[in-house]
Subunit: 202 residues, 2 copies
DNA sequence: CGTGAGTTTGACCATATGGTCAAATCAAGA
DNA sequence: TCTTGATTTGACCATATGGTCAAACTCACG
C-alpha cells in the first residue's frame, strides 16, 4: 500500500477511479452483491492493483460512505435559520430533489445501506445525522412558534422531504415503469412545490 | 421434489416455513446477500431438504415476490371509485401506513428489489402494477374533474403515498435513530392525515 | 405389519470470491 | 543514467456458496 506521504499523481487518479467505480457497483448491487473483480474491472485495474490502494472491499465501501455523507446532508445543512421560512423550505426541497436527479447513485448507495439495517453507518446516523436533524428541527419549531409556517411534527416533516425526494432516485425503475416516457423530475418539481406550499402555509 | 398432487401436511408446513424464513433473510440482506444455508437454518431444515421443496434460491425468491405482490397492492386495489373521495384517499393512506407497520419485511423485500433495478420483477411493474395504477389514477382524475379533490398530477400523487408510507418500513433504522424512543407510527399517522387533508382539499 | 411414496441427510462438487505474495515493471529525482 | 521507491500483475490460496445425489429414514394406508 502507498506510504503515508502526499499522494502522487497516479495515486490520486487511481483512488478516484476506484471510488467512482465502487459507487457504480455498490449502488447497483449493494455491498454483498458487489464484487471486487467487478469494481476493479470498472476502474480499469487488476484486482491486486485495486487492493494495493484499498486494503479490502470493506475499506472501499467505508471510504465511499463517509466521503459522501457530507455531500448527502449538504442541502439540509444549508437550510438557513435567518432566511424566509417558506422560501428556505421550498429551496431545501428543490436542492434535495435536484440531488436525486443528479446523484442517483449516491442516493441508492445510502438506500441500500439503510434498507439492510445500516450495519456500516449506524453510528453516523445516531450521531452526526441526529445532531444535524435536531439542529434544523429546532429552526423549524422556531418558525412554527412565530406562526411563519404551519405547526407540524418537525421530525416527520423532515422525513417527508427525504421520502418524497429520494423516492425518485431510489425507486427510479418503478417510477419510470409507470410514467413511461414522461420525465419524472419534470412533474415532481411542481408537484412537490404545490404540496409543500399547501402543507406549510399556516 | 414433491409430485404434482395435493400437498401433504408436511409439504404445507415446510413450504410455509421456508417462505417465512426466506422473507426474513431476503428482506434483511437482499437477494445476493441471502444464503440458502441461512434460509434453511432459519426454517429448521437442512439445505438439501430445503432444495427438495424449491429447486433453487431463485425459485424461492420468485415464489415470495409473486406471492406477495397482490398483498402489497391490495390497499390501492381497494380504493373505491364510488366512495367519498377524501375519505377514500385518507383510508388508502391509512391502510398503506398500516402495512408498513405490520409488514415491514414485505416492504423491505420490495425495496431491496427496486433499489437494485428490479431485475426479477421488472415485468410485473410494467404490466400488473402499471395497469392497476392507470386504473386508479383514472378514478383520481375523475374526482379532480368533479372538483372533489384538488387538481394534482395523479401519478405523482400516488408516488407520494408510496414514498411517505413505505419510508417508515424501508428506512426504519434511520427513522428510529432520529426519533429515539418515540413510536414512528404514532406521529406518522396524524402527520400524513394532516398532509393529505391540506393537499387534497380543492 | 408391509410397502411404496414421501422425506431427510451426509458427503460431495464446481464455481465464485476476498485476499496474498513475490517478482516484474515503471517513474522521477539525484 | 542510475537508483530507489511506487506501481502492477500472474499465480495462488482459503473459504463460501449454490447445487447434486444416492442412500437412509418416515409416514400413511391397505
Amino acid at each position: 500500500m502507498p506510504k503515508d506521504r502526499a499522494p502522487t499523481r497516479i495515486q490520486k487518479k487511481n483512488r478516484a477511479a476506484i471510488l467512482d467505480a465502487a459507487l457504480n457497483v455498490f449502488s447497483a448491487h449493494g455491498f454483498r452483491g458487489a464484487t471486487v473483480d467487478q469494481i476493479a474491472a470498472e476502474a480499469g485495474l487488476s484486482k491486486p492493483n485495486l487492493l494495493y490502494y484499498f486494503p479490502s472491499k470493506n475499506a472501499i465501501h467505508t471510504a465511499l460512505l463517509s466521503g459522501l455523507l457530507d455531500v448527502w446532508l449538504a442541502p439540509l445543512h444549508d437550510l438557513d435559520a435567518d432566511g424566509d421560512p417558506m422560501e428556505e423550505m421550498l429551496s431545501y426541497i428543490g436542492r434535495k430533489l435536484q440531488m436525486s436527479r443528479e446523484l442517483p447513485r449516491e442516493s441508492r448507495l445510502f438506500a441500500n445501506e439503510l434498507v439492510q439495517g445500516a450495519p456500516r453507518i449506524h453510528d453516523a446516523l445516531s450521531n452526526d445525522l441526529k445532531a444535524l436533524v435536531d439542529e434544523k428541527t429546532a429552526v423549524l419549531t422556531g418558525w412554527m412558534d412565530q406562526g411563519k409556517i404551519a405547526r407540524l411534527h418537525p421530525y416527520h416533516l423532515i422525513f417527508s422531504v427525504w421520502a418524497l425526494t429520494q423516492h425518485y432516485a431510489d425507486f427510479d425503475i418503478q417510477v419510470r415503469a409507470i410514467l413511461g416516457d414522461e420525465d419524472p423530475f419534470e412533474g415532481a418539481a411542481p408537484f412537490l412545490d404545490t404540496l409543500y406550499r399547501k402543507l406549510l402555509t399556516p
